[in-house]
Symmetry: C2
Subunit: 251 residues, 2 copies
């Protein structure tokens, strides 16, 4: 359902924030051109955001401030799922030495809640807060596999099935087949679909009434994950982490 009476002024402010996020620090004129707004309007919005800490001015340039991190950090902290899962994801990273991730679904997209790097972890350009299409990652597929089919259809409808790389899922049939496999195995795999040479294993976390709360994963370069590990020790470790979270979430 969408807004019947959207507040246009607020939408302009939000567009400005997004533009500032994409462009990084920049001046009034550049923003006004990009947004097709008058300079004075942009200036008024910027100074208003600055007054409240959402925007900073350094010299003649404006940029986003850390107030967003405050609001976002506070939101994340208030999520029980994050509180419980966070230490488990850290252990997972430390014990495997690889990159461990935590993802939840929001409005049909996957949102990374955190990532934790082990000793030898690859450095992907994911970060807390980053959004991805659910069908493009092992984490996302682990979640989709345990949502009601109607929700999955809704999400496909709303967010599409764009193919990120030639090897990735790109059609309704491929996706449902993949999700079937995830349910059978209990975990999801991404073998170079998102990034050549990168293997990911993800397991869903469900609450006591069987609803998915999110997913936990480990990402590692193919060179360190043998074919046996891919269906042996590694999923076992990820599933175990997911299980601990499930046990702790309802006491």
């Amino acid at each position: 359902m969408d807004a019947k009476h959207p507040v246009r002024t607020t939408e302009k402010t939000l567009a400005l924030v997004e533009e500032l996020m994409d462009r990084g620090p920049c001046g009034v004129t550049e923003l006004a051109d990009g947004l097709e707004m008058g300079k004075s309007a942009v200036h008024n919005h910027l100074t208003t955001l600055q007054k409240h800490g959402y925007v900073l001015k350094t010299g003649d340039e404006y940029q986003l401030g850390l107030k967003f991190l405050e609001v976002g950090g506070s939101t994340r902290k208030s999520m029980e799922f994050y509180q419980v899962a966070e230490p488990e994801v850290k252990s997972l990273a430390n014990e495997t030495g690889e990159l461990a991730n935590l993802l939840v679904e929001e409005q049909g997209m996957g949102v990374y809640l955190m990532r934790s790097k082990g000793e030898e972890a690859v450095d992907l350009d994911t970060y807390a807060g980053l959004r991805t299409h659910l069908h493009t990652t092992a984490l996302g597929k682990a979640i989709l596999a345990h949502l009601p089919e109607s929700r999955v259809e809704e999400i496909i409808e709303r967010r599409g099935l764009e193919r990120k790389t030639p090897r990735s899922v790109g059609s309704r049939e491929e996706l449902f087949e993949a999700l079937e496999g995830v349910r059978d195995r209990g975990y999801a795999i991404d073998d170079g679909e998102r990034l050549e040479g990168l293997r990911c294993i993800a397991a869903p976390v469900k609450d006591s009434s069987d609803e998915v709360l999110g997913a936990i994963s480990v990402s590692a370069p193919a060179s360190r994950v043998s074919d046996e590990d891919l269906h042996g020790k590694l999923p076992e470790r990820v599933l175990s982490a997911a299980n601990v979270v499930e046990l702790n979430i309802n006491y």
Copy 2:
């Protein structure tokens, strides 16, 4: 400098966000009462924010969404200081087994960029994005000690010197005396000022032109920090971490 022509509508939206952050999930009426706005106005703002992912509706309640984390996370990721310091703070936490933190100054307040928990770390209720008055923590004092005196005066003027606990800094004289000590030693100490039984050591990070970028700290219970450690091994380790960051930041 503050806004000459503030966008009032945007300010209402921001007030709504802050209210939602303080109250957590709640209904339209409750927000309208708290903000002294009409229900329809609140509703319009909420649906607008929802449309853009900043707010979620579950049943009859509204709450903040993870879009703020996306913007905040992206802002943090774009900071060179964070990129360079992050691995060092993690090592510091792992090697000491305690809680390590990273703070920067923004608009006269301290903002935690991250925290990393070692094996035995205490669990303070700090989180990435949290703001604190600079004079109340070792991290903040490490930063204040290396800002120009005029900036410090400005910050005191703007943010005050409220005493958080009886033992903490609470006057201009106490503060400047403390900052003098920080400059002499090279690091700042909080011995139970913020929280009874908690000891913190913080070191500033400066760039090549001697400007403070932020501060790094370790927090540990007094029971695990002997009086010798407090002025011996621990500061040494924190200073070394700060030094590594300084070396890496300018190549």
